[in-house]
Symmetry: C2
Subunit: 278 residues, 2 copies
């Protein structure tokens, strides 16, 4: 089963477009876990979050940086966390990799073959041949950064660019057009921040069928309802609404997993309400 | 000692602008090492290359992808390889990371604190706040992708953009201007491929003092002499001329380290000849 089909199946089964981002910030782990060695604390935290929220999500999105900061143990922890995700729920490795051909291939081997993730986030700045080695895994998802949710996104992504068709548009729209063209195997997606619903709406029009990963709700302050309405496809699907800190750190005590369940359920329901009252 | 000073000191001591890229492609390791378990083979290969070429380089540049493809063992191998570099030679982690604030900070912790690298390559697509957490390590080098050496670089980097000053220029020039502006602590650099010496020349004019990391000579086919002349600063320094495969795989037998020595020496001398006959 390819990534998009696995995503849609999980989303329908759990009636959810919510993706929980696994960004285990060390300083914010619950106090009772901070007594453990760091690698064990992170593993246990992520396992409990996964178990507590799995019925309410369409995907999990572990962020490599928070595992890499554990040093040599990081990738073992990452492997354990990926394995803790139920097999029917897709794992999106939030890695934002991007490098030339033979290097991109090595990254794809790492993320898809070694760690068995279902999809990866990729930075498009190096162009087609940096993306092709990921695309060659036709059953895996390749989710390209388009318009990100941070303030610095304006520095380059928003600049007016003369695209290959001669029209002047923001760089992120040219990127979206290229992603659309690269989607021959139907395994592309794109990242568009929730903080700019009008841009999201325009990008959904340019790319009616692509899955859109939408971070920036919750802690980052995006408007959930506007983002959901702008991001879903014509069938009310293919938006992956990602929340990390607001779910992971909904509670800070020994009951953090219960708090995460409640927050995931609340978000799932709020997303469903928005997409069903368009 | 900050990165730029460490780089200049090593370059002057070894009279070299050559940087050896450590990209251990598994299928190209010498036959006698392929009998070992992969992690040991990669460690031994890199150690021997480092020992064989250290007198002829200004820096080593291990590429994270080739360690990550080893799976859970990869970061242990990476750590051993970084530790094998003599302390007076800077290590540039070729990681091409780029993510929003708190995630970028975790990547910086990994590369600078956990693994002790002297510099890192960073993708600029997410803008200033994705770069700031790296820049905050004022003694470490932050080398931003500007104009890369691969064919796909044309997809976005070359597009005509209206910059903040109202002028239309290729995106990579706008990126170079921003890097220049971000260089408050004097710890920025940029990556410009050797395959386009005219662009390199123009970027050197825009950024007269930045260290420029120049990959693409040797296996990637750039013209060494033109790249060196275009890339060095007014004093004939601050170009980091990177070669990977042509050095690593100069030989394929048990004598690969000797072959690497000869190739590194030859490249160093060719670079010096070019920079001294401008």
């Amino acid at each position: 089963m390819g990534f998009v089909e696995k995503l849609l199946t999980a989303a329908r089964h759990n009636d959810s477009l919510l993706c929980v981002g696994l960004d285990p910030e060390l300083s914010r782990l619950p106090a009772h876990l901070q007594a453990l060695p760091l690698d064990r604390a992170v593993t246990q935290f992520c396992r409990e979050i996964i178990e507590a929220t799995a019925p309410y999500v369409c995907a999990f999105k572990p962020n490599l940086a928070f595992f890499e900061q554990l040093g040599v143990d990081g990738m073992r922890v990452f492997q354990q966390v990926v394995k803790a995700v139920p097999s029917e729920i897709p794992v999106i490795a939030d890695a934002k990799r991007g490098d030339i051909g033979n290097t991109a291939k090595a990254y794809a081997v790492s993320i898809f073959d070694e760690f068995g993730c279902d999809a990866v986030t990729v930075n498009p700045y190096l162009g087609y041949d940096s993306v092709a080695p990921f695309l060659a895994y036709r059953e895996k998802g390749v989710i390209l950064l388009c318009r990100t949710s941070n303030p610095g996104a304006r520095d380059f992504q928003d600049l007016p660019v003369q695209g290959p068709d001669g029209q002047v548009r923001p760089l992120y729209e040219v990127v979206a057009q290229r992603i659309q063209a690269w989607n021959e195997a139907g395994n592309c997606g794109m990242v568009v921040g929730a903080t700019y619903p009008e841009e999201l709406c325009r990008l959904r029009t340019l790319c009616p069928d692509l899955p859109i990963l939408i971070p920036g709700i919750g802690a980052q302050g995006g408007d959930l309802e506007a983002a959901v309405r702008a991001g879903v496809d014509a069938r009310g699907e293919k938006a992956i609404i990602s929340a990390s800190r607001s779910v992971l750190f909904a509670g800070s005590g020994p009951d953090f997993a219960h708090a995460a369940t409640r927050e995931a359920q609340r978000l799932r329901d709020a997303i469903n309400k928005a997409r069903r009252h368009q």
